[in-house]
């Protein structure tokens, strides 16, 4: 009986497991293999190179620049996206007429075509005729700045865009977290004089730690892999200031055809993502400990 059930279990997961093997696990091994070879997409020759691709990648200034760009993109877009999403979630977590309409509107950018959204935000940032510059111009302020064409501002412009295009899912996650906080906690808190801002700091925020952790991990992972907005809006420019790792690997593999080197770089990215996630996990654990002890 037991063995029979075991066989049925494997039978039901077999198609999905085969898919996992073929499209995730085997490719990881394949990519690791490729990363050890000097190999190009367009020629059949390959030559064993050992860790040469890795040592080359880590020492290459343009790859270092890409890593640094991804890091500063994530460091801005993740916290900013988190704070805005939490604020909006609190705003729409009220019993008000028409609240679902607002929630729906805030979700729209997240389900939109990424290419179309990138085109729209290109307009938002245009000099003189763009949305922001038009408003600045109306107020008689400087309206000449091409936000996406300026080394100093291009990366921040893309990061700020992501705060709004990724708002929907993050907002809903926080909304779920907020709804899950037992009302009794606020009633008990009110007896101890914790209302308003104090209740937010002492009850709402601690209760949202698991949600926050989930949002931080998932948005960091996607921030470190951002591609479409860069491809559509800046092509990594100006002066490689928005050349993030996701875009850098794309050009290495599909423009320069250096599949071996690109695979090595993608493994460096993978290791970075896993490491960052582990650090975040550690931090959340210690946070939770602090609260249960208090």
């Amino acid at each position: 009986m037991e063995r029979k059930e075991s066989r049925w279990g494997w039978l039901f997961i077999a198609p999905a497991f085969a898919h996992l093997l073929l499209f995730a696990l085997a490719p990881i091994l394949y990519a690791f293999g490729l990363s050890l070879f000097r190999t190009r997409l367009i020629s059949p020759e390959r030559e064993f190179a050992g860790v040469e691709n890795y040592t080359f990648a880590v020492a290459e200034p343009s790859f270092q620049n890409a890593l640094w760009n991804s890091a500063r993109y994530a460091l801005v877009s993740v916290p900013l996206g988190l704070i805005v999403a939490l604020a909006v979630a609190i705003l729409v977590n009220q019993k008000l007429k028409g609240i679902t309409l607002f929630r729906t509107i805030y979700y729209i950018p997240a389900i939109s075509s990424g290419v179309a959204i990138a085109m729209l935000w290109q307009y938002v940032y245009l000099p003189e005729t763009g949305m922001i510059n038009s408003l600045l111009g109306m107020l008689g302020l400087d309206n000449k700045k091409a936000f996406l064409d300026d080394v100093g501002s291009a990366m921040w412009a893309v990061a700020i865009m992501s705060v709004f295009t990724g708002l929907g899912p993050r907002m809903v996650l926080f909304l779920a977290g907020l709804v899950g906080i037992p009302q009794e906690l606020y009633e008990a808190g009110a007896l101890d004089g914790a209302t308003g801002w104090r209740a937010f700091l002492k009850i709402t925020l601690p209760m949202l730690i698991p949600t926050t952790f989930f949002v931080v991990v998932t948005s960091t992972i996607s921030a470190l892999q951002i591609f479409t907005p860069i491809y559509m809006m800046t092509k990594g420019g100006p002066e490689e200031s928005t050349d993030v790792v996701g875009y850098h690997i794309y050009t290495e593999a599909w423009v320069n055809f250096n599949t071996g080197l690109a695979s090595a770089k993608s493994f460096v990215l993978l290791v970075a993502i896993v490491a960052v996630s582990l650090v975040q996990f550690r931090m959340m654990k210690s946070q939770l400990k602090g609260y249960s002890a208090a």
Binding site: E5, W8, A16, Y123, S266
Partner: protein
């Protein structure tokens, strides 16, 4: 809706009236400001009094000062998020090849509806073909993924077997981390299979998803096991229990999974761009980027027409199934 309190009524009414008076004054004063600094001050005054008016109106309608603030904030954010879309529609109606209109000339004098004909019947860019490709690929992936992933979810939710936890963990870890490294090997594999530039390349990599398995497993776990037992006593086999008992009861979660997959695949850009190269095999998303690159920044009206054509079906579908998104994102966070 709660009772109007006297205070909020007065606050709302006063701020609204004050705003109207101020706005009229600023509008009248604008004609006399010749000095640019005065004009700037005047425009900021108009903006500030409009905000005050909005707040007053919101307070009056909602019946509370706090609610008034909330509505003001929500409306401003909604306007900010929707503004680019409204702009997109308006610019798509400007005559082809005209420069980007400034905000005061944003409403087209005569809507250039023929832009839509031009883009839809572009000689070397078959939009209808892109649409059919996208539709076919998306529906295939949604149906295939629901089937394959729900089978696996059933296996994980209802059977005890060796290696179950490890296998489930493998799915979750791959969902989180495999992303960056798979593009090159999957491309090379698909190339070896001879699938490049075919529907197979667009469909098979998406035919199962760890996220959907996870979501449906949660749904199956919430269904009482007694129902399975009852069906078993009636002589149903495992597959029949899955098909006749669990799937119908998990319909809301299936709908959520379908909604997520639908939008994910429909708007996917990277993989379709990489795995196809003939015009006939492109999807809408890739077609739009090709259109943008070939018409460049030179022709914003046509670019925006193309963007509207790509966005419109998405918005319509979203409005019909938006409630499933709230549900799905919540499910994803339960660990």
């Amino acid at each position: 809706m709660r009772q109007h309190s006297a205070v909020s009524w007065w606050v709302g009414a006063l701020s609204f009236t004050l705003a109207i008076v101020l706005l009229l004054l600023f509008l009248a004063g604008g004609a006399y400001s010749i000095n640019p600094d005065d004009l700037r001050l005047n425009l900021m005054g108009r903006l500030a009094s409009s905000l005050l008016g909005l707040f007053g109106l919101c307070t009056l309608v909602s019946g509370g000062i706090k609610q008034g603030f909330s509505y003001t904030g929500m409306i401003l954010l909604a306007l900010f998020l929707l503004a680019p879309f409204v702009w997109m529609v308006l610019v798509s109606l400007h005559p082809s090849k005209t420069p980007i209109p400034t905000l005061d000339l944003i409403i087209p004098k005569e809507p250039a509806w023929d832009n839509y004909g031009k883009v839809l019947f572009m000689p070397n860019l078959p939009v209808s073909r892109f649409f059919l490709n996208t539709l076919f690929v998306t529906l295939s992936v949604v149906l295939g993924q629901l089937f394959v992933s729900s089978l696996a979810a059933y296996g994980f939710a209802r059977f005890q077997f060796k290696g179950r936890e490890a296998a489930f963990g493998l799915f979750l870890v791959s969902m989180m981390f495999a992303g960056p490294v798979t593009q090159i090997p999957v491309y090379l594999m698909v190339q070896k299979f001879g699938w490049l530039d075919t529907y197979a390349a667009l469909i098979f990599p998406g035919i199962s998803s760890a996220f959907t398995i996870f979501l449906l497993r949660q749904a199956f776990l919430a269904i009482p096991k007694e129902l399975d037992e009852a069906a078993k006593i009636d002589g149903a086999g495992y597959f029949r229990i899955y098909w006749r008992v669990l799937l119908p009861l998990a319909k809301p979660s299936l709908a959520t999974a379908a909604a997520f997959t639908f939008f994910g695949v429909w708007t996917d850009f990277f993989w379709p761009m990489l795995s196809t190269n003939s015009t006939e095999m492109r999807t809408l998303e890739v077609g739009l980027s090709i259109f943008k690159n070939s018409y460049g920044a030179a022709n914003w009206p046509l670019q925006m027409t193309a963007a509207v054509i790509v966005m419109a079906p998405l918005l319509v579908v979203f409005l019909f199934c938006q409630r499933y998104f709230v549900k799905g994102v919540m499910m994803g966070s339960i660990k």
